[in-house]
């Protein structure tokens, strides 16, 4: 663990991050609390009303009427509405990955790296608990919060499995697959009280290899015409565009535009010596100075024949 200022830590990305000074400055703010209303348990309006009665100031954040920023609270886990599963505390960017996948009620969906279940439970919500979700995570410790969250949020269409993602059996095929891979998580970094970022990881070759393995398995588990979302909470092109480029080169994959009206930057076309496929510009990079949330990357991919 070492401490660096944002300007120093993110210097390698200063040419690719738009308005780098604003980016560094934004990292001095604490991460906002976002509440995603869970319509499997209670109507949005009712939950908002109850929160406002408790003097919690809510600001609508996403174009889907589900996510609100809670201005004056830090621990949503203590809310009765949280205990009852009427809401879930979830970063806005994490919500967007589930929306980008866009599951329909009745479909078969795989969440390959599902714990702790925030995105899985939103997928179930978007599917109105209809169809089937296989929520997989290799780590037994992380299955505990996964199970607890799905239970609390009233999810009834999920089967939980515990395979290493890269070894998930290629014997069943899905309409949609979400692969939110383990990453260096640089998008979650914010400045601490001493003015520096607390961080312990950097993008590594080992991580990149795992991400490539996972994206291939995720793609292979799709039906022809099915949709995959690959996402990370990091800025490193090696974990983002390079992984998507690898997929495009090795499989019949096609990048699709993500149709949401929110500020973001396009996927990179070049990083150091590497040029990327022009369609990678359809990927989304989300920086905190654009949307005040965890920094994020996502790619929506369709499987060709």
């Amino acid at each position: 663990m070492s401490n660096l200022t944002p300007e120093v830590y993110f210097a390698p990305f200063s040419q690719i991050i738009p308005d780098f000074a604003a980016f560094c400055s934004k990292l001095a703010d604490p991460l906002p609390v976002h509440l995603r209303m869970n319509t499997l348990k209670a109507p949005v309006r009712e939950t908002c009303f109850r929160l406002e009665q408790q003097n919690i100031l809510l600001m609508k954040e996403d174009p889907f009427n589900l996510v609100y920023r809670a201005e004056n609270m830090s621990q949503p886990g203590h809310l009765l509405e949280f205990s009852l599963g009427h809401l879930h505390s979830q970063a806005l960017s994490s919500v967007l990955a589930a929306f980008a996948l866009g599951p329909e009620p009745g479909e078969a969906v795989l969440d390959l790296c599902a714990a702790p279940g925030s995105k899985t439970s939103l997928l179930a919500q978007l599917m109105q608990n209809k169809g089937i979700i296989v929520a997989n995570d290799r780590n037994p410790d992380r299955l505990i919060p996964l199970r607890a969250n799905l239970k609390r949020l009233g999810v009834t269409n999920t089967v939980i499995t515990r395979y290493p993602g890269q070894n998930f059996p290629r014997r069943c095929f899905f309409d949609r697959v979400l692969v939110d891979v383990p990453c260096s998580a640089e998008g979650t970094l914010r400045v601490g009280p001493n003015g520096t970022l607390r961080h312990s990881t950097r993008s590594s070759q080992k991580l990149t290899r795992l991400q490539r393995d996972l994206v291939l398995v995720a793609f292979d588990l799709l039906k022809v015409g099915g949709t995959l979302v690959y996402s990370t909470c990091t800025y490193s092109p090696g974990e983002n565009e390079s992984v998507v480029q690898f997929l495009l080169k090795t499989r019949p994959a096609k990048i699709q535009p993500i149709r949401m009206e929110l500020p973001h930057s396009p996927g990179l076309q070049k990083w150091k010596e590497t040029s990327y496929d022009p369609s990678i510009a359809h990927c989304w990079r989300i920086y905190p100075q654009q949307i005040d949330t965890v920094g994020f990357f996502m790619a929506r991919v369709v499987k060709g024949s």
């Binding site: 203590h78 009765l80 199970r147 009834t156």
Partner: protein
């Protein structure tokens, strides 16, 4: 006993080594089936009897003391606990006593700090 959405494609994934499915619905307690609180939160709105409505102070007492004394217009057995039209979970009603059956860590001590008296009373 678990609540799992019916879907024909469950057969396609039946070969997977499954850790758990769906939502816990009922548990055997001795010779009786006890509904889980999470299942009641999801399905309890369809119930038309064996519902006990508690004001917020009694709900808090039930959570903190695990049991409250009172007579409710209900037959002995498992009941749905609601407060201010919100279903909270399961309790066991015995004549003169209501015994909490909520999951152990469902509420934190700070939960009550957020609740305004006017809202949950």
């Amino acid at each position: 006993m678990w609540l799992l959405t019916r879907d024909d494609r469950l057969a396609d994934v039946a070969f997977l080594q499954v850790e758990s499915v769906g939502l816990p619905l009922l548990r055997w307690v001795g010779t009786h089936l006890k509904p889980t609180s999470v299942a009641l939160q999801l399905l309890g709105a369809h119930a038309n009897k064996n519902i006990v409505n508690l004001p917020s102070d009694q709900l808090r007492a039930l959570v903190e003391k695990k049991e409250i004394e009172s007579d409710f217009a209900s037959t002995p057995g498992y009941v749905i606990v609601a407060s201010n039209s919100v279903i909270i979970g399961c309790a066991l009603y015995l004549p003169g006593r209501l015994i909490c059956q909520f999951p152990r860590h469902m509420f934190s001590s700070q939960t009550w700090d957020y609740l305004l008296h006017e809202v949950y009373s």
